[in-house]
């Protein structure tokens, strides 16, 4: 079935990396950081906001920047989410940036870059589904989703694997979320910082 082949081709890890991931890695590589530590929370706030804006304008908005507080807020949301995996939060990131432990500010910015990359991958996957799945009849949608779940079975959470494909034929937001989370866990495209 050509349709499912094109969905799977578009969702191939290397294809996603080429279309989405590379420009995020390039943006991260282009950002110069002249000090790897910060002296105060205000400085930390400024650096993460500046980096977020740089990364965001380089590969998300293609030019339109955010206000300082908007950028800082979004950066902190990403840091909170990422550091929560280790039982920490944005203050853990600040402490690392203060004394340079665990890679210092460099790794904090890496974490923001990975967070932005994950958001872009989610948008890309959503777009693939919208383009390839949404315009089809109910039966075709169910068939595509059934094949997709079967093909991606090892990566998807068991809760998704046991669900009926019909559940996702109309609203596949949860399926996309599950797929991106699976990618984050298993794909080499994402770094586990």
């Amino acid at each position: 079935m050509a349709l499912i082949d094109s969905v799977l081709a578009a969702l191939d890890e290397r294809q996603i990396a080429r279309v989405v991931g590379l420009r995020h890695d390039e943006a991260r590589m282009r950002y110069p950081l002249h000090r790897n530590t910060v002296g105060s929370y205000d400085e930390f706030d400024n650096v993460i906001a500046d980096y977020y804006n740089f990364h965001f304008t380089s590969c998300v908005s293609n030019g339109g920047g955010l206000s300082h507080s908007e950028a800082a807020g979004r950066a902190k949301a990403i840091l909170n989410q990422a550091y929560r995996r280790h039982g920490g939060d944005v203050m853990t990131a600040f402490n690392d940036a203060c004394d340079g432990t665990n890679g210092g500010l460099r790794v904090v910015l890496d974490t923001i870059a990975e967070g932005l990359k994950a958001e872009s991958v989610a948008m890309y996957v959503q777009d693939v589904f919208d383009r390839h799945v949404a315009p089809n009849s109910w039966e075709t949608k169910v068939e595509i989703i059934r094949t997709f779940i079967r093909q991606c079975c090892p990566h998807l959470a068991s809760s998704i694997r046991v669900d009926q494909p019909e559940r996702y034929a109309h609203g596949y937001r949860d399926l996309i979320h599950g797929y991106v989370e699976a990618l984050k866990r298993s794909s080499s495209m994402f770094r586990r910082l």
């Binding site: 990396a17 080429r18 110069p32 790897n36 920490g88 340079g100 770094r191």
Partner: protein, 555 residues
């Protein structure tokens, strides 16, 4: 010869709740004049007499002390304030009565006298309250912040500590709350910096590039030894401007070259060249450092964004005239680096040994000394920080290696960059030495991932982040290696001069202290087993430090 300095400040009209502010610019013109320094005012906007007297008696004194400490002549200054549009339209001139423009006037005068440009996105306010450069609070901070927020190009606001000497207690709680609220509201849009003296003012305002260029042009690149009295605020300011300029020079030059700002890099090199010619002195080791820096640039940046010659041959020769016999090799390296030729690679000499506790009679005391030198904090500060900073500063345009040669060059260049930032002394050797070491490091970094061939595949494919992933892996491996070397060196220094029984006692004491961090198979062995061969303890310790750090991260 005259020079102009400009600094933004906020001017206030009215008082209390009705106070309004506007952003204006203080302009200072410095003129060399025989017969001593003085300060005069010009322009439509005028300082009232008490303010003018304060500027002459206090602010000018601070500026002159700094210039004196830097060994520079004290010029005369003409100071004016740009009249506000509303006043000009009404054919009126501003009248300035307070002291809050002191910081801007001082900065404008220093900028003019030192030929040191100030960033245009910064507004300062503050009263210079003593000839030693103390800065104290001024009124109407909320109105001034409001005015700064109205000007889109203003990004930073520098103000005095609001209650340095508890005098703000005189304000009503409502007023104090209004100030605090204004500061919090502005924080999201402006970078706010609190300063307490003239050194902090300079640190918050001037960029490294401005200081290094000014020091080269005005001649205070190296400390003169004519600083103000030790411990004074002005002395700190003099030291801030005159010390560490060589380090600043290399940092700024590297940033320009890495970020592809070749014209700025050339201007900086030219300024250094003129400075050395004026001093009739060849900077020892300059050629080697420059060659090293050029070779450590990412190959694509060197090829596409760096225009050679970085320094015209004529200028190089001017500096080389002052080289001595010992500088012969370095001169050749300078010419090579400036012309972008002879990119031969060099390998690092063995790092200089660090000082360690020596000849400790008591094993426990020796262990205490050693543990201080190999603690997680010491390893982070002395080893990890410079390596992480080096990685963080290394910028590249793309993450994909286009060819085997490009990959090869990037790996070698990055390795040289790491060496340069970790203080490794590089000496001339055959062209493959640095390259071989770089690939040995890469091989180790990818030992469990398929080796250097897998690294190249990653760099060319990009799925894992291409060169970004490869360079990060090299950085982490280099960091671990350097930590092992450091710990080993510390242990060697303490153990090598000892006899067998002292070594055994030391190892026993060490194992009892760091034992819980080591694997059980090491703890189970008798101490004598490690008295001569302690490599496994070192590696296990470094690994455990990293693991403990990861654990703390989760708490």
């Amino acid at each position: 010869m005259t020079a102009i300095g400009r600094a933004r400040t906020a001017l206030v009209f009215g008082q209390g709740d009705g106070a309004r502010a506007a952003i204006s610019v203080v302009v200072a013109q410095a003129r060399e004049r025989a017969g001593g320094s003085n300060l005069s005012f010009c322009g439509t906007a005028a300082f009232e007499e008490p303010a003018a007297r304060h500027l002459r008696e206090t602010v000018l004194a601070v500026v002159n002390q700094i210039l004196e400490g830097l060994g520079l002549a004290k010029p005369s200054f003409d100071v004016s304030v740009v009249n506000l549009g509303a006043a000009s339209a009404a054919d009126l001139g501003l009248s300035i009565s307070g002291f809050s423009a002191d910081t801007a006037v001082a900065l404008a005068m220093l900028s003019a006298a030192l030929r040191m440009p100030l960033p245009e996105d910064v507004v300062t306010t503050g009263h210079i309250a003593s000839p030693d450069g103390d800065i104290r609070a001024v009124r109407s901070i909320p109105a001034k912040l409001g005015a700064a927020l109205q000007v889109p190009e203003v990004r930073a606001f520098i103000h005095p500590a609001l209650d340095e000497d508890n005098s703000m207690q005189a304000l009503s709680p409502a007023e104090r709350e209004r100030i605090a609220e204004a500061v919090v509201n502005a924080r999201g849009r402006l970078r706010l910096t609190v300063v307490g003296d003239v050194t902090e003012l300079l640190q918050a305002t001037v960029t490294e590039e401005a200081v290094v260029l000014a020091s080269l042009c005005s001649g205070f690149f190296e400390p003169t030894g004519r600083a103000a009295p030790q411990g004074s605020r002005v002395d700190d300011a003099v030291r801030f401007l005159s010390e560490g300029n060589d380090g600043r020079f290399w940092r700024v030059l590297e940033a320009h070259l890495l970020e592809g700002r070749c014209a700025e890099a050339q201007a900086l090199l030219l300024a250094r060249c003129h400075y050395q010619v004026r001093r009739r002195q060849y900077p020892g080791g300059f050629g080697g450092k420059l060659l090293q820096l050029v070779r450590s640039l990412p190959p694509a940046t060197r090829r596409l964004k760096t225009s050679f010659p970085l320094l015209a041959m004529g200028h190089c020769l001017e500096v080389c005239r002052f080289a001595g016999q010992a500088d012969h090799e370095d001169v050749q390296r300078l010419l090579d680096a400036a012309q972008g030729r002879g990119m031969t690679r060099e390998k690092p000499a063995a790092p200089a040994p660090t000082s360690g506790a020596q000849g400790a009679a008591d094993a426990n005391a020796a262990v205490d000394a050693v543990l201080g030198e190999i603690s997680a904090q010491t390893l982070t500060e002395t080893i990890s920080l410079p390596i992480d900073a080096a990685r963080a500063a290394y910028v590249m345009e793309g993450v994909l290696a286009e060819s085997h040669d490009a990959f090869h060059d990037t790996i070698t260049a990055f390795y040289l960059h790491l060496l340069q930032h970790t203080g490794a002394v590089i000496t001339l050797t055959d062209r493959h030495a640095g390259c071989d070491e770089a690939f040995a490091l890469l091989e180790q970094a990818f030992a469990d991932k398929g080796g250097s061939e897998a690294a190249e595949a990653d760099a060319r494919d990009g799925t894992r982040g291409g060169m970004r992933f490869v360079l990060d892996a090299m950085t982490d491996r280099y960091k671990a290696e350097q930590q092992v070397k450091h710990v080993k060196r510390v242990l060697e220094e303490i153990l090598d001069p000892q006899d067998w029984s002292a070594r055994e006692a030391f190892i026993a004491a060490l194992l009892s202290r760091i034992g819980p961090q080591l694997p059980s198979e090491i703890r189970a062995e008798p101490p004598g087993r490690y008295a001569r061969h302690y490599d496994s303890i070192v590696r296990a310790y470094v690994r455990s430090v990293d693991q403990v750090r990861q654990l703390f991260r989760t708490l």
